[in-house]
């Protein structure tokens, strides 16, 4: 993986965490609902798919086709799964954040919650 492909944007990080959180049930609808419900970030299905495509190009997620269902008008789901480089990138972002925040007055330490 090239050096320039391992950086994560903020929204990419949120989507990656949502995919990781959902495990085997990560597809468009559930990812969007997690981003809106848990991360409290209003978003659209188009934004989710364009972000997932970028992450797939970077090798951070992989995808596969599910079974078509009647409820979806006979269209198949596309499931997503986080890959090793994705987990590595998430850990790197968290470590970088901790380093930057350490010792800065007026900030809570990273990961301490609200």
């Amino acid at each position: 993986m090239g050096e320039n492909t391992k950086y994560l944007g903020e929204f990419e990080e949120i989507v990656l965490l949502a995919v990781m959180r959902l495990g085997n049930n990560a597809y468009g609808v559930t990812i969007r609902q997690t981003v809106e419900g848990v991360a409290e970030r209003p978003t659209s299905i188009g934004a989710i798919y364009t972000t997932l495509e970028r992450l797939e190009e970077k090798g951070m997620v992989s995808s596969w086709q599910g079974e078509p269902t009647e409820q979806r008008g006979g269209r198949a789901k596309r499931y997503f799964k986080i890959e090793g480089p994705g987990i590595e990138a998430l850990n790197d972002v968290e470590a970088m954040r901790k380093r930057l925040r350490a010792g800065v007055p007026g900030l809570r330490p990273a990961g301490s919650g609200i």
């Binding site: 468009g28 609808v29 299905i45 934004a47 008008g73 269209r75 198949a76």
Partner: protein
């Protein structure tokens, strides 16, 4: 001048409404007697399937060898089938919304993304009805068009630059 505008306005409104005008049988009764049948029909002039403009009734006596009762029954059955078909169509997401997304989606994304939207559309439809579900669908389409069109423009710019660089190299080496 104003009369022309009025006529033009009425003509335009007529053109918009005309394709939606239908005469429907809303009530139908067939009574048999020793000399023949009595057909009582209530008709309604409707715009679409919900708005009734005018309603009227007719009662006709026909002889027992007339084919008219069969024709009326066939018409009532045909209209019922049309209503069922229309109901099925109404439960599907708006085609124009799907088409707008089709313009920007890549081939491998079409099925999963439109399927995701249809899945949620059906949930909204079941909870809030057709109009609110359609509004929800178009809101999703509009919100999705921003990132999708941005990606399309970025792709165009990228390939435009590649084509331009290729053209410059071709001119230098020519």
């Amino acid at each position: 001048m104003s009369i022309y505008l009025l006529v033009a306005g009425i003509a335009l409104a007529g053109l918009v409404v005309l394709p939606w005008l239908r005469v429907r049988i809303t009530h139908f009764q067939l009574t048999g007697s020793h000399s023949g049948y009595v057909i009582t029909c209530t008709y309604a002039l409707k715009v679409g399937s919900n708005i009734t403009i005018y309603e009227w009734s007719t009662t006709r006596s026909v002889s027992s060898d007339s084919s008219e009762p069969i024709k009326v029954i066939q018409r009532v059955e045909r209209e019922r089938a049309e209503r069922v078909e229309q109901g099925k169509k109404q439960k599907l997401p708006p085609k124009f919304g799907e088409y707008l997304l089709y313009l920007f989606l890549r081939k491998h994304e079409r099925d999963p993304l439109l399927g995701d939207l249809e899945e949620e559309y059906r949930e909204v439809y079941a909870k809030f009805g057709r109009r609110k579900a359609q509004f929800w669908y178009y809101a999703q389409v509009v919100r999705s068009l921003a990132p999708l069109s941005k990606r399309a423009i970025q792709s165009l710019v990228k390939w435009g630059i590649v084509a331009w660089v290729g053209d410059v190299i071709r001119r230098w080496t020519a």
